[in-house]
């Protein structure tokens, strides 16, 4: 997987491109989020539009990094999930926890509202 990183103010958008699966993309995502959170950039958006394949390990990594950001005082929000990704988030009940957006501007603006504590 390849990640393209953009920064808009204090919000960081990570565009994920390719497969997010066991030993294929999961480590790249982990390292990118860990680096950002360690440097204090904790308002993160994962743009999922170009995730071509996602498995349970990939879902697991999304949740794990969601928790990493929360523990760092921030949050990860999700943008443009494909129909398939949305379905997988739904059947794993993560749609009840994750904030998911179809519009980048709305996702960025949502950070101006306070984040609930862990």
């Amino acid at each position: 997987m390849r990640i393209v990183e953009r920064r808009i103010g204090d919000v960081t958008i990570l565009q994920l491109i390719g497969r997010l699966e066991l030993e294929d993309g999961d480590v790249v995502l982990r390292d990118a989020v860990n680096r950002l959170v360690a440097s204090g950039r904790v308002k993160l958006i994962l743009d999922m539009k170009e995730v071509t394949r996602l498995d349970s390990a990939g879902i697991g990594m999304l949740v794990s990094k969601y928790l990493t950001a929360r523990r760092g005082g921030g949050v990860i929000k999700f943008l443009h999930p494909t129909e398939r990704t949305d379905h997988l988030m739904d059947i794993t009940k993560l749609t009840t926890v994750f904030e998911i957006f179809d519009n980048e501007e709305a996702a960025i603006k949502s950070f101006s509202t306070p984040v609930a504590g862990v």
């Binding site: 790249v28 349970s56 697991g60």
Partner: protein, 291 residues
């Protein structure tokens, strides 16, 4: 705003591209060279075999099946009989299951159905660069209605077998095919990772049975099975209002993030049946008649 790219490097491979379509040879060569690979080309089977017989060492052969004068399947058989044979990825517009199954029998690494997006070739070549890519699959049965394989317990093999099996199911409605592919891969990954401990010396047995009204996959792993009541590290044991609880258990146990496989699979297929030890599983998807 600032852009930053993060990507995993792809090792350079020495590739022989065999296709009688000059235009396709050119496009794929350019693409693969652009990805850092060294590419040579041949327009038919005899030319390819001569290059391989000249002592030139190739890591990978991209082989068209519909070649003039000599079938790509025959070339595949001869290539695989070489000492220290290269990995072979077959490419073909022939979408009959007989061709696919023969390619499986002759140890093709992967099967690409033409037309395919040119960029996908770079992805498949990347996948073939793994240390276990040259491991062989034992073919027990290669009938369209009953495919049965015995394979080493590696993640690469799980990808490879899933690719073959889903090519066999190419005529299914896309949604059904995607659901079955996802469920099959989750269970096969579980089998090689937890049952087979990712040990290439251990084997997983996979049967794929197709009737008019159902698809049935049986996966038997070499492990001892598991006790479902002790799966606190799996999402299936989470309360409805806490879909992340098992992640805490996994962190405590030093397990990688994950544990959603069974929960996902149960939602994607119609029946999921384990044997008593839980080291064999049946995955069933019912089809509309004629589906």
């Amino acid at each position: 705003m600032r852009d930053r790219h993060v990507a995993k490097p792809v090792p350079s491979r020495r590739i022989l591209l065999v296709d009688d379509d000059r235009g396709l040879r050119h496009v794929l060569s350019e693409l693969l060279q652009g990805a850092g690979h060294k590419v040579e080309t041949a327009g038919d089977g005899p030319e390819a075999l001569a290059m391989l017989g000249n002592g030139e060492r190739f890591d990978l052969v991209l082989l068209d099946i519909g070649l003039p004068s000599m079938s790509g399947l025959d070339v595949l058989g001869l290539v695989r009989n070489l000492d220290n044979p290269p990995i072979v990825i077959v490419m073909t517009a022939d979408d009959t299951s007989a061709t696919l199954l023969e390619a499986v029998r002759r140890q093709a690494y992967r099967y690409l159905r033409k037309p395919f997006p040119p960029s996908s070739i770079v992805e498949v070549v990347r996948e073939a660069a793994t240390p276990f890519a040259s491991l062989e699959v034992e073919v027990i049965s290669a009938k369209p209605e009953w495919l049965e394989l015995v394979a080493p317990c590696t993640l690469e093999m799980a990808d490879r077998i899933q690719s073959f099996v889903m090519h066999l199911e190419a005529n299914l409605p896309e949604a059904v095919r995607e659901a079955v592919a996802q469920a099959f891969r989750e269970l096969l990954t579980n089998a090689v990772e937890w049952g087979g401990k990712l040990d290439p010396n251990r084997k997983v047995r996979i049967s794929c049975v197709r009737t008019k009204r159902l698809l049935l996959y049986r996966i038997a792993d070499p492990g001892e099975g598991f006790d479902i009541d002790r799966l606190r590290h799996a999402a299936i044991t989470n309360p409805d209002d806490d879909p992340m609880r098992h992640l805490t258990v996994r962190e405590e146990q030093g397990l990688r993030p994950g544990g959603f496989g069974l929960a996902m699979t149960r939602s994607l297929v119609d029946d999921l049946i384990y044997n008593e030890a839980r080291n064999e599983v049946l995955l069933i998807k019912y089809l509309d008649e004629g589906g």
